[in-house]
Amino acid sequence: MAISLNKPREILERFISGPVDIASLAAFRFLFGLLMAAAMVRFLAKGWIRLLYIEPRFFFSYPGLEWLRPWPGFLMHVHFIVLAILALGIAFGIFYRVCIALFFLGFTYVELLDQTAYLNHYYLISLLSGLLIFLPAHRAWSIDVWRKPQLRLEAVPAWCLNLLRFQVAVVYVFAGLAKFNADWLLRAEPLRIWLPARSDLPLVGPWLGQAWVAYGASWFGALFDTSIVFCLLWRRTRWPAYALLVLFHVATWVLFNIGMFPWIMIVAALLLFPADWPRRWLAWLRGRGADSQTALSPQRGGARDEISFGLWSDRPCSFLLVLLAAYAAVQVALPLRPWLVSQPSAWTCAGFNCAWRVMIAEKTGYAEFYAFDPSTSRRWRLSVKNFLTPRQETLMAQDPYLVRAMGRRLAADLKARGLVQAQVTVDAFAALNGRPSQPLIDPNVNLAGPVPDGWIVPLRQAE
């Protein structure tokens, strides 16, 4: 039997430049925009702008971004109102390129202001909106097309959709792989702590205190996350898998404070459906069936010549290939960092963020800073209440790197008051996934200077 040497290349070409219906991309744009508008309104309504960006007097900046500061006073509120309007612009495809680019910049700016504000789904929003800048998601079912009909496309090169699919797959698969650890599978932590805290829910509540429920939920969660992408891609399992996905995410929304994350994933998972799913659904709703003429079906042998690519080339250029490969490599490499270190990243916080380690750690911390002046041998306690909000203080105490950043800030403050030689140490304790509390940072390390190896005390595994 002869094997065509060209077959892998053909598959790759089809994967990258083969025409796919634009409908899925346009529907995602619409739903993503609506969700983001709702998210921004929710942020405003809950008063989080004041809590996160106006009340704090100190921000845990990302390295190199110390210059980034929130807008003064009410302008931060205006910023979120503008983001909500831009999100509506994305949804309805009005000046789409401008809206999505500004939304990406505006949202990412907010996310980068303070490390304690990091959330996996905020990171996902930045990634998705960043990708959407380069995708022609507005060239169907948009006001831009209504204004300029020449923009209208029936299909786009497959990479446009596959890039988003890849991103969604990375989230699920790495979130699942992160759960294959002893705490999650053998101790059912942190669900064993979190589920009983919801035992006042009607109907299911009383069961949430049972250990077997936590074990069951842990194993199910790990299997669900790692396998759901494949189940959604396979036609036979697609519908039950999506029903399960909706059930799963709604359950997590009810049980935990994870805001918009479940809804984003419920929408994003639709990207794994065939590219023409919106046309099929619309046709089904109109009672015309899946094979209606409204459905463009290049994947089912549709005439490729009839599909208008407009300005979009169907030939993958090498530059595009390199860019896509680089993006994919980064997205795979970032979540792999925690696997390369000896201590659990949930304990050290090294490589924990941007790695889709979602809902796997219940960690509580406590940090008390001390100053020591070698010239007088005086040691005294330093309060962080002048710098941090209670929320920031809670989150800082869990993360050794944020504790070190706070230590440096306190040292700079002492220096400004003439205590040039003052050292700053910390009594920091943390409890991870139900273990007894233990020292997080070596209390003898001077945080004001360079920290030695081993400044983070290793986690004692035994309970």
Binding site: K46, W48, L51, L52, A117, L119, N120, H121, R192, I193, W194, P196, A197, R198, S199, D200, L203, V204, G205, P206, W207, L208, G209, Q210, P240, A243, F256, N257, I258, G259, M260, F261, G289, D291, V358, M359, E362, K363, T364, G365, Y366, W380, R391, T394, L395, F429, A430, A431, G434, P436, S437
Partner: protein, 376 residues
């Protein structure tokens, strides 16, 4: 042909949904039929705390406030040494009763803005003396308009015990109190004393009524109904109170600048010599919330998820209270001659604070449900 395929698919889909619905109905019935006891225990714990610790604590406060009003009335009528001693004793009883419920400052106490009436506010003797020297005596109707530094439990402490070296005032200390209450032109001072005691009593009675009233709108019913939110609130308030006891009571006297004699007026309860007694009552009040008072307490919920931790917290409470009692004399005195004992008590309370803020909060899942904002 297409239609029949669709009908078949539709039929299969209906069958599938029917099966799924049946499974859910069955599961729902099973859930209703056999609910385990976890929620019942938490509800029972909250109910017991509301009734046997909080409501009972406010009833004690109310009763002691009635005692203070009676004693203040007798002192106002016949100002002598015996009446003053009784009034001082009654004031101390009120202060201790208030300290027993001090760690849970939420609900009616906050809604009615009564916290500053019962808990430490640095009062101003000049402001109080200024009011007393006015032409007309203060009546009860004027109390709400008075500044916070001239009313409440600690204004009464000044009137009954004098002060410990308040800056700018030469001599009015303990021994002169009776003279000031019985001497020429002291009617206004005695009337003021009585008015403040009556105000305290009225507020304590209101709080006791709020917590003991039945019905869905009562404070106790709301507390129980809030479920995990009440547990979260309780844990956070207790954690905050342990820190407060350590920082603002025990450690506070250790870090007072020299000369100490000029700083002692800043120590809570220093005028009445109840600073240590107050700190102990504060810690014992927290322990009552943890252990329960004849019923279930926070410890019982903790035992269900982490029994060894429940024991560690219990031991830490016992150690902290015992070390504080060992100080043996008012803090403003002990800071001069028993600094080590205060430091030891500080360390024990600090250990309890870490256990509460880190281990207990984590074990009860308080952190995930009590953070502002989302998580993931």
């Amino acid at each position: 042909m297409k239609t029949s395929v669709r009908e078949n698919v539709g039929g299969r889909t209906c069958q599938w949904w029917a099966k799924v619905s049946s499974i859910f109905c069955l599961a729902g019935n099973m859930l209703l039929w056999a609910a385990p006891a976890q929620t019942a225990t938490r509800e029972a714990m909250l109910r017991d705390l509301a009734r046997q610790v909080i409501a009972s604590g406010y009833e004690d406060l109310d009763a002691s406030c009635q005692g203070l009003t009676n004693a203040a009335g007798q002192l106002a009528e016949t100002p002598n040494q015996v009446a003053l001693a009784r009034a001082r004793q009654a004031w101390t009883a009120v202060a201790m009763a208030a300290n027993h419920v001090r760690c849970f400052q939420t609900g009616p106490l906050v809604d009615r803005e009564y916290a500053a009436t019962f808990y430490y506010v640095r009062i101003s003797p000049p402001a109080i003396n200024g009011l007393i020297q006015q032409t007309n005596a203060i009546d009860r109707g004027q109390v709400p308009q008075l500044d916070g530094n001239a009313k409440g439990l600690f204004a009464l402490e000044y009137l009954l015990f004098g002060h410990k070296g308040y800056p700018g005032i030469d001599k009015p200390d303990g021994p002169l109190v009776l003279e000031m209450l019985s001497g020429k032109g002291s009617e206004h001072r005695r009337a003021y004393l009585l008015v403040l005691a009556q105000d305290l009593e009225a507020k304590a009675a209101q709080l006791a009524q709020d917590w003991s009233s039945s019905g869905d709108e009562g404070a106790a019913a709301k507390f129980v109904k809030a479920g995990q939110a009440s547990v979260n609130l309780l844990v956070n308030q207790l954690a905050h109170s342990i820190e407060d006891a350590q920082q603002n009571h025990l450690n506070f006297v250790l870090v007072l600048p020299q000369p100490l004699g000029r700083q002692l007026y800043r120590v809570e309860g220093s005028a009445s010599g109840t600073s240590l007694q107050g700190a102990i009552a504060y810690l014992e009040g927290m322990q009552r919330f943890y252990r329960g008072a004849g019923g279930l307490g926070l410890a019982d919920t903790l035992k269900q998820v982490n029994a060894p931790l429940a024991k560690r917290v219990e031991d830490a409470f016992v150690d902290a209270i015992s070390a504080t009692k060992t100080i043996g004399e008012p803090l403003e005195q002990a800071v001069l001659d028993k600094r080590d004992a205060i430091q030891n008590a500080c360390n024990k309370v600090h250990a309890l604070e870490i256990l509460f803020k880190v281990d207990l909060a984590s074990a009860l899942g308080v952190t995930i449900s009590f953070t502002s904002g989302d998580g993931d």
